[in-house]
């Protein structure tokens, strides 16, 4: 039987920037998602709002240069691991205008 503990694992809390939410009708600024890495978190966002991955990641693949993802106060990459219950903050960087 597949080992699926996603339902038992507390979700991460994701904070999204207003400019991103405006691009996806119905999207929320704060939500909870099951994810063990930032990459999985973005995949989960894209599953709920198709196209959101493309707004946060480019094709290298990596988080877009002017998007910051903070995990426990530190800038994260797609591979950054997320402990259950972690708060993840996605922000538009000042370098993007």
């Amino acid at each position: 039987m597949p080992n699926d503990d996603s339902r038992a694992r507390p979700p991460v809390v994701v904070m999204l920037p207003a400019a991103l939410v405006r691009l996806f009708p119905g999207a929320m600024r704060r939500l909870e998602l099951p994810a063990s890495t930032v990459g999985e978190m973005i995949d989960a966002l894209d599953a709920r709002w198709p196209g959101m991955r493309d707004r946060l990641c480019d094709s290298r693949p990596a988080i877009r240069r002017h998007i910051n993802v903070f995990v426990e106060g530190r800038r994260a990459t797609l591979d950054t691991r997320l402990a259950p219950g972690t708060e993840v903050t996605v922000l538009t960087a000042i370098s993007g205008g």
Partner: protein
């Protein structure tokens, strides 16, 4: 039946739409749309009335936006608008053109994509970037950009593209293979003995004469040109113009011998209108002779420029002509350029001007 004329503007801060009737005396302004993203090219597919806008946001990357209701509502997508992993990612969409049952998009870094579902998803026309010259393509001042895009009106296998600064390329097999089409156009920025290379020209705007698919016109960084054979050979048509430098070109909707250009004073002279006096230049004989059109345009202390996609005509009779400046002003003529009026100002920098005529 009432006729509406829409002037579609791409700007540094979103899409704007001006609307008038067939008289084109009074325009209403709507916008900004598309979340004030920088929008490089806004077009309409006249067959279905859909408006498409291509651009790229520094935060959120490239996308094509779409409106099926003349700008009242918009959606966006970039599904499939990407190069392979590890390659430099696409920064922005710079050109759009309907054709061959779909929609083409030119991007930065230069490449070509096609959508068969109205912009919802995209496929890479990879043959262009597989061209053996690509490792030697150099960017123009704004980047390595595919900014001119002409699908052949009748032959689905033929497309012309203009890339700054790689030159004009043409396909006859639907994009699998491409050939440079630059013979006769100059590179003044290279040593004298290298001034007519096979590729590497800084083409600024490529347009096709109405009803003559072998007749192309080109505004280049280094001159103005006409081709009678689909770009295989180019002849200079700059004699009689105030400079050899400019960005936009616009063809008449019915007359293949009529072309509108807007020369600027020079690439190292400030890139504004010559002598600080605004003029659109018109030829009615394919570029053999030119006349300056100034009636209603400012003639003193004018320091604006007009970018490569920022001039267009409409298909009414007499034809309307429009150009938007890098200072956010839009000028319009309802009489083929004989007289002009300012119809919008205080807009953001205008990157593109196109038109749509709707029979309401």
């Amino acid at each position: 039946m009432a006729t509406k004329v829409l002037v579609l503007l791409g700007t540094k801060k979103g899409v704007f739409i001006l609307e008038s009737d067939a008289e084109r005396r009074s325009f209403t302004l709507r916008g900004p749309f598309c979340e004030t993203w920088p929008m490089n090219h806004v077009i309409a597919d006249p067959a279905i009335g859909t408006i498409y806008a291509g651009g790229g946001d520094a935060w959120f990357g490239p996308a094509v936006w779409k409106s099926d209701d003349l700008g009242a509502s918009w959606s966006h997508s970039s599904a499939g608008l990407a190069y392979q992993e590890g390659e430099e990612p696409i920064k922005a969409v710079w050109s759009l053109a309907p054709g061959h049952g779909g929609l083409y998009a030119g991007v930065e870094p230069a490449g070509l994509f096609k959508s068969g579902d109205g912009g919802q998803s995209w496929g890479h026309v990879a043959g262009l970037r597989d061209h053996p010259t690509r490792p030697h393509w150099q960017p123009g001042g704004a980047g390595l950009i595919l900014h001119s895009l002409i699908p052949h009106p009748d032959d689905e296998r033929q497309v012309w593209v203009g890339i700054s600064s790689a030159g004009v390329f043409h396909t006859t097999d639907g994009g699998d293979s491409w050939a440079p089409r630059n013979r006769g156009t100059r590179c003044d920025f290279l040593p004298e003995e290298q001034r007519y290379p096979e590729y590497g020209q800084c083409v600024h705007c490529l347009v096709m004469a109405q009803g003559m698919s072998d007749r192309l016109y080109q505004q280049n960084h280094c001159g103005m040109y006409r081709s009678e054979d689909g770009g295989r050979h180019w002849d200079s048509i700059e004699a009689g113009l105030p400079s050899t430098f400019g960005f936009p070109a616009a063809v008449h909707p019915r007359e293949p011998e009529t072309l509108y250009l807007l020369p600027l004073n020079g690439d190292i002279a400030g890139r504004y209108v010559p002598d600080a006096r605004a003029a659109v230049w018109r030829t009615r004989d394919g570029g053999d002779t030119w006349e300056a059109l100034r009636e209603g345009l400012p003639q003193k202390n004018v320091f604006f420029g007009v970018l490569r996609q920022a001039m267009a005509t409409d298909r009414l009779e007499p034809a309307g002509v429009y150009f938007g400046t890098n200072t956010g002003t839009l000028f319009a003529s309802a009489d083929e350029g004989e007289s002009w009026r300012c119809i919008a100002q205080h807009l953001p920098l205008i990157t593109s001007v196109e038109t749509l005529v709707v029979e309401a």
